[in-house]
Amino acid sequence: MLYTQVKGRKVVSTGTAETVGRVADLVIDPRSRTVVAVTLRRSGHADTVLWSDITAFGTDAVTVPDGEVVKDANHAVKELSGKAHDVLGKRVLTTLGEALGSVSDVEFDPESGAVNALVLPSGDVAGSRLVGVGPYAAIVHAG
Amino acid sequence: MEWWGWLIVIVVVAILVVAAFWLIQRRRRSGGVIVDPSVSPGNSPQEGP
């Protein structure tokens, strides 16, 4: 599943059958190379759903048990959120100091949340190569 | 002051701002290649290979 496809997707509660919000961003942990949370566009303050609280990531909607799972981001997730850590559009540098291009998309596994690949115009970079993401660049091991 | 007086003030201020910006940029970007720095007091220098 691709990050750009998921943006704006409905998040629906299986308990109330109501739309709880829409996907704004995926929060990725470069250390585990997995999606750890999803931030939503919705009215109200709380806007983060932990990956573990998601029932399923479908092609047409993301399902959650109820609206309660949408909380304020805990400290760990906060550290990984925000523009500084958003990998989409970010310049990619290898550990050898070479620029590979910018991330145009992220291919992830909707079941496990594992980041399979960073999609770049010059070619895909395996998710296992991810080292860190910061305000200037996403760092990957040289291929 | 006449309108042109104000115009001069604006232009002068603009020039000063640009000059300040340019001077800071120069100081920052003016990198060089430093050869054999002088030994700072109280420090024993490395011998060349």
């Binding site: 540098l93 996403a138 | 420090n43 290979p49």
Partner: protein, 194 residues
């Protein structure tokens, strides 16, 4: 495979941590004229209004010097500028900028002016100045032409002059490729690693 690069390209290159943060950019390259070993870099800040930093970066703290960034493990590996300068310091040295220095033979003839410095980064992660790019004066050939002078040919260097023997003009290369070959040849001749 070792790579040649110009200090003009390295100056201004961002210094990036493995966390993806650009913590500084290269301001000066610091080296010892005897042997050419690069000791490290002085740094400047990244914002449009920032000036030189109090920190420097020793070559030993550099993970990689790539075409687009200098990679370091984290911000803690930077040291003070004094430490970096002291590591390359020599008694009698004055720490001038060799860019703009006049290339002078020991017989007092001006051969040209240094306009760039050529670095070699080897696979063994060593970084050395291997030569100078010189804007030639009459004695070297067409005035203003750019030629390359290998470091082993030079006698000494400072912020004012690079001193060479009169025969130095026989050892200049006229392009970077030819210069690279000359560096290899010199190395074989001196019996060092290639």
């Amino acid at each position: 495979m070792s790579r040649l690069m110009r200090t003009s390209e390295v100056i201004g290159r961002p210094v990036v941590t493995l966390d993806g943060k650009d913590v500084a950019q290269v301001k000066d390259v610091v080296y010892s004229a005897g042997g050419g070993a690069v000791g490290g870099f002085t740094l400047a800040g990244r914002g449009p209004f920032s000036g030189p930093l109090k920190q420097g970066l020793s070559w030993s703290a550099v993970m990689a010097l790539g075409p687009d960034a200098v990679m370091i493990h984290d911000e803690d590996v930077m040291s003070s500028v004094t430490e970096v300068l002291d590591a390359s310091a020599r008694p009698g040295g004055s720490g001038g900028n060799v860019l703009g220095s006049e290339v002078l033979t020991d017989t007092g003839i001006l051969l040209g002016t240094v306009v760039d410095v050529i670095l070699e980064v080897s696979e063994q992660r060593t970084c050395d100045v291997v030569g100078y790019e010189v804007s030639a004066s009459e004695p070297l050939g067409t005035h203003g032409a750019k030629v390359f002078l290998p470091l082993p040919v030079t006698l000494s260097a400072s912020g004012e002059h690079v001193m060479v023997p009169a025969a130095a003009k026989d050892f200049v290369a006229h392009d970077l490729a030819g210069f690279g070959a000359a560096v290899q040849a010199f190395r074989k001749h001196l019996g060092g690693p290639s």
